[in-house]
């Protein structure tokens, strides 16, 4: 009997080591893996919040309606109705939040327009384009087209 146990003792030692190893693994794992890991899947749930916490840079066209009635109604009536204000004016969340912080620069009334309207390969046929050297070689496009409602006449 004693002989038999003696032969098996190395198995118990192994089992002991195994248990110690397992406990160690569980302790280390619980220290390293954040509590919210696995809540929604194989990732840290807090990463959702990390991805949300960034501040917004473009206020969105809705924001401008609070204060710029005239530009808003003007634009809504013309061909540029679908264009967001900040597409031409640049990101203005800081301005929409605190207009006193500084007056936004006016976009160049020539460069701005050509970004979209110059004739080029790839433009769909419904979109109205010009060849700038023929249409208006120099000067601001805004001399003839109001940027917020560009139809002439």
């Amino acid at each position: 009997m004693k002989e038999g146990l003696g032969h098996a003792s190395h198995l118990f030692r192994m089992a002991g080591l195994f248990v110690v190893g397992l406990v160690l693994f569980l302790v280390v794992r619980s220290l390293l893996v954040p509590a919210d890991f696995g809540k929604y899947g194989h990732f840290r749930a807090g990463a959702l919040a990390d991805n949300r916490e960034k501040p917004v840079v473009y206020a969105g066209r809705q924001a401008c309606t609070d204060c710029h009635d005239e530009a808003v109604t003007r634009k809504a009536a013309g061909a540029h109705a679908g264009i967001g204000c900040e597409t031409c004016h640049g990101a203005l969340a800081a301005h929409a939040d605190d207009p006193a912080a500084g007056k936004p620069q006016r976009p160049d009334p020539r460069v701005t327009c050509l970004v979209c309207h110059e004739r080029n390969a790839g433009k769909p046929s419904w979109f109205k384009v010009i060849v700038v050297e023929e249409h208006a070689p120099s000067g601001p496009c805004a001399d003839c087209h109001a940027p917020h409602s560009p139809a002439v006449g």
Binding site: L48, N51, G90, V115
Partner: protein
């Protein structure tokens, strides 16, 4: 980001940009329990994106807006979204000429119109796949499909091993040169969870790009999918792409 800086950004961002209700919602978000926030419920959304090829005028406004909104470095030329121009000569659908200088950040160089040529623009971005290859290869759970259908990166977990960059069949990932972690389109997660659209869709002048919510029965995407010829990129890869293209030419890969 160290926690002092993060707290500062969070606190000032909250005060600057949010109404009190939204600020209260953000507290839940920051506590890691966004589903409890009053304004936004994870379970109520399944985000997707639609692109109408015939509406795209190739102005590059989306590319510029994306870099600005998400502080993507101007150079080197990494992009979360970019626009390609395809030109197909005659019947040669298999050999389109594609250009996308600087991702169309500055628009496209003027090319003379060729009468025997078909040309069009193709905006590209992360397809927010439902079965993303990039998520499958991540060894540490640093990138994942969120419960509301957006593929995101956990910057604090990412090792920068680049597996995901190689796994994405659409080339939508890169290693951010400052953080040295994987970076990609988040579908402007910080905007869409506050009721705004993405920066690219906000600044698309022609409605070619639209954010869509498949769980919202009133979203125009349902009619868009029903009434048009729709294609996703590389359907043979079974990625479950949720970026739906209308009138996409077969020359596009």
């Amino acid at each position: 980001m160290d926690s002092a800086r993060r707290n500062f950004v969070a606190a000032s961002g909250k005060l600057l940009l949010l109404t009190p209700v939204a600020a209260a919602a953000l507290d839940w978000v920051l506590a890691g329990e966004p589903e409890k926030a009053p304004g936004y419920a994870l379970d109520d959304h399944w985000w997707a994106f639609t692109i109408d090829i015939a509406r795209c005028i190739g102005c590059g406004s989306c590319v510029r807006a994306c870099k600005t909104e998400n502080h993507v470095p101007l150079e080197p030329y990494y992009f979360r979204t970019w626009v390609e121009r395809y030109r197909v000569k005659g019947a040669d659908e298999e050999h389109p000429q594609v250009d996308s200088p600087d991702g169309a950040y500055n628009g496209f160089p003027v090319l003379p119109a060729a009468p025997d040529e078909k040309s069009f623009f193709v905006p590209k971005l992360c397809n927010h796949c439902a079965h993303s290859p990039c998520v499958q290869v991540c060894p540490v759970g640093a990138t994942f499909e969120s419960p509301d259908g957006v593929v995101l990166v956990d910057k604090s977990y990412c090792l920068g091993c680049r597996y995901c960059v190689q796994a994405c069949p659409y080339g939508c990932r890169y290693i951010h040169p400052e953080t040295m972690t994987a970076d990609k389109c988040t579908l402007c997660y910080h905007r869409i969870t506050r009721g705004l659209t993405t920066a690219c869709a906000e600044n698309c002048p022609s409605g070619a790009r639209r954010l869509a919510d498949l769980k919202d029965p009133k979203d125009p995407i349902h009619a868009f999918l029903r009434e048009n010829a729709i294609q996703v990129l590389k359907p043979q890869m079974a990625t479950g792409s949720k970026c739906y293209y209308k009138d996409l030419d077969g020359a596009v890969r």
